[in-house]
């Protein structure tokens, strides 16, 4: 067992006074510098806001297809992987779409969310993202802290889907049948016999 070793101190150190003055000098230097220079690293939020880095995990949003419907197909991968179990999805069925499953309701309890981003990682459809850069996630009631499908769809609705920007930059990488405008792979006309 290592016992703490009593530090050897000189007499000047032992009467504290000199050391105290040294410390006071340091703090005063900082104070005076800041008093005259006023060059703090602190942002004067909310008047001056920090531009969040691109990969900052902010509030969740649901991405949409060009027709405005959410990309989410209610596969529950995010709900499954979520360590805080804060995602609730109710699945529903669409009659008029080859992608027939969609979330009737998609809720994230932001009070439980730990912003790990696993849901984004798990999503096979790129339907949920945390790229909004929104860090002010607050409300006056617990109910309001539950973000629902409508809220998360409207959030940053104008942002371009990642796939589109990526494939615009790398035309060759797009899978066969990928339609830039639709941002998904379209079914190819099936060749059939008579």
């Amino acid at each position: 067992m290592n016992l703490p070793v009593e530090q050897k101190r000189t007499f000047l150190e032992r009467i504290y006074l000199v050391e105290i003055v040294k410390g006071l000098a340091i703090t005063l230097r900082h104070a005076l510098h800041n008093l005259f220079k006023q060059d703090f690293e602190t942002f004067e939020y909310p008047d001056v806001r920090k531009e969040m880095p691109e990969r900052y995990k902010g509030a969740h949003r649901l991405t949409t297809r060009p027709d405005g419907r959410v990309k989410c197909v209610a596969c529950m991968c995010c709900a499954q992987v979520c360590p805080a179990k804060c995602i609730t999805i109710e699945a529903g069925e669409l009659d008029d779409d080859p992608i027939e499953k969609y979330p009737v309701e998609f809720q994230i309890d932001m009070l439980r969310c730990i912003y790990c981003g696993f849901c984004v990682e798990a999503c096979p459809k790129d339907a949920i993202r945390m790229d909004t850069g929104i860090y002010e996630i607050n409300a006056f009631t617990r109910q309001d802290m539950i973000h629902d499908k409508a809220y998360m769809t409207d959030l940053m609705a104008g942002k371009k889907p990642l796939a589109e920007s990526f494939y615009r930059a790398h035309q060759d990488a797009a899978p066969p049948g990928y339609d830039l405008e639709e941002d998904r792979v379209l079914p190819v006309d099936e060749p059939r016999g008579l």
């Binding site: 499954q80 080859p98 499953k101 079914p187």
Partner: protein
């Protein structure tokens, strides 16, 4: 019996056993799609290719390789792994990446084997072939032809089990797709099985579609009580809510199948007709108060007391009721009223759907053999007509409905799970648990005593019927004295000769046939272990 060698392990199997079943016996799983133990062998998926060491030639499919002496196969060679990977790649070539919306994911053989043997790097450069998606092919089924791997299990089910043959593989080569004749629909009563046997998500069950991801579900072994067949089922539930029923393999009862009616029976658990609260004089009451009221009724009955056993209630409940009556109500007469409840499901056939919709008719018959004093339906009709009955204690069945009686002048105590004519006319109603909410046994039409396990907690104030009998007995003076379903069954087995020697342990998952038959016993040697196909 021939002896075969699988991965160096020798095993003796009956002639005619294929290598998949033989391997299963020694704990080796040979992946397969098209093979199903209760369907003919097609051998078209090629997933079960194994190396033949001796007694054969080259790689061969295990499903169609019958046991013969000197046969030795290996499933662990690199070649087998290569074959499996190649087969998977071939099967997945046109398979859509639908897993996020596919209800099969989580119990999909494609997913499972892909994770084990898959070619993870796609070599596909051409667009996939598109086929019909989301086709309504029956009242309970949805077809997604793109997901089909053409194993033809469903085709064989239609040909061999139901004999209706609606499903076929149309077109050819990579345009092959499963389908039914345009404009037709599948209409038989065993549609759910098609969704079950489909190893991928091509055929899914409309009723279960999108309600829950399967990996959230817990499974409990139970017995269907919708008719006298007593199909073995698995109750899939989460957090006290049942989401679907699946058949459980029992070769002596239902093989791997069950009917669509039984499959939907769990909906009644939360249905509007469910009795959740005790009632006295039509008013909701505390369970203890209702039991006390029932006891008072029985004790102070002016005329005769008629106790009616329940054909749909469990063995334990019926025995508890009989014991309770004999112990506390010496003047009561015990009746058993056969027949179906009015309004009961009326379909039947010679396969699984029995015309007798009571789950425990054979159990009642056994009790009647044990206690000759139990009177039958006509005696009760007579007693009612004579006005000899003042108080009637009814377990489970809608006795008034069965007799077409209005119950005037009779004060009825009804112990049941569902609202019916009897419960409407009853002075006291005690809510009983649904079969899936309790541990209990039922005796099916083949006199097989089968055990169901509790999947979820009893809803509302309801309790298992045997427990209600305990309460009632305690209120009357002498309780039957069982503290658990197992104890109730033990009491039954020790008293009734045909049940003798049975315990919950010995029943296992396959059940056991009653001894001392009025009718010849069926072959119970193959009360099989319940490995799902």
């Amino acid at each position: 019996m021939p002896t075969v060698k699988i991965d160096g392990i020798e095993v003796e199997v009956p002639a005619g056993t294929n290598m998949i079943e033989a391997a299963r016996k020694v704990g080796i799983d040979i992946p397969h799609y098209c093979y199903h133990p209760h369907l003919s062998i097609a051998g078209n998926c090629r997933m079960c290719l194994v190396d033949v060491e001796a007694g054969g030639r080259g790689p061969d499919i295990a499903c169609n390789m019958m046991a013969r002496d000197g046969l030795a196969i290996r499933t662990d060679t690199p070649q087998v792994a290569t074959m499996r990977r190649a087969t998977m790649e071939f099967l997945l070539k046109n398979h859509p990446l639908d897993c996020p919306i596919c209800d099969q994911s989580g119990e999909c053989r494609l997913q499972d084997y892909y994770m084990e043997y898959g070619q993870y790097e796609s070599r596909l450069s051409d667009p996939k072939v598109t086929k019909h998606k989301r086709v309504d092919i029956g009242d309970h089924l949805v077809l997604d032809a793109e997901r089909c791997i053409a194993c033809s299990r469903c085709v064989r089910f239609g040909d061999e089990i139901t004999g209706t043959g609606e499903l076929r593989l149309f077109n050819r080569t990579d345009h092959t797709e499963i389908g039914i004749f345009p404009g037709a629909r599948i209409q038989h009563d065993y549609q759910g099985n098609l969704a079950d046997i489909c190893p991928v998500g091509a055929i899914t069950n409309k009723d279960f579609r999108f309600t829950k991801r399967v990996w959230y579900l817990k499974e409990t072994d139970a017995v269907c009580t919708e008719c006298a067949t007593g199909c073995n089922v698995r109750v899939c539930h989460q957090q006290g809510q049942v989401f679907r029923l699946l058949p459980r393999r029992n070769d002596a009862v239902n093989k791997s199948w069950m009917c669509d009616h039984g499959r939907q029976a769990f909906e009644a658990i939360t249905g509007l007709d469910r009795l959740l609260r005790a009632r006295v004089q039509g008013q909701p009451a505390d369970l203890d108060d209702a039991v006390a009221a029932a006891a008072t009724l029985l004790r102070e009955a002016g005329g005769g007391v008629a106790v009616v056993l329940g054909h749909s209630a469990s063995n334990e409940a019926n025995w508890a009721l009989l014991k309770l009556t004999r112990d506390n109500l010496p003047n009561a007469t015990v009746y058993a009223v056969a027949g179906n409840d009015p309004g009961a499901w009326d379909r039947s056939d010679d396969f699984l759907m029995d015309a007798d919709k009571n789950a425990n008719s054979a159990g009642i018959a056994a009790l009647m053999a044990h206690d000759p004093a139990i009177r039958d339906r006509s005696d009760l009709v007579q007693a009612l007509a004579d006005g000899d009955v003042d108080v009637m204690l009814v377990l489970g069945d809608d006795v008034l409905g069965r007799l077409g009686a209005d119950g005037a002048g009779v004060r009825v105590i009804h112990v049941g799970s569902f609202r019916c004519t009897t419960s409407d006319a009853a002075t006291v109603v005690l809510p009983a648990a649904h079969p899936y909410e309790q541990d209990a046994t039922w005796t099916n039409r083949d006199r097989r005593v089968q055990r169901g396990r509790r999947a979820i907690h009893p809803a509302g104030d309801s309790e298992p019927a045997w427990a209600l009998m305990e309460r009632l007995g305690a209120a009357l003076g002498k309780a039957p004295g069982a503290t658990s379903a197992a104890a109730a069954f033990k009491s039954l087995a020790s008293s009734v000769e045909s049940f003798s020697g049975m315990t919950y342990q010995s029943l296992g998952n396959g059940g056991a046939v009653l001894a001392s038959p009025p009718s010849p016993p069926t072959d119970d040697e193959d009360a099989l272990e319940t490995i799902h196909a």
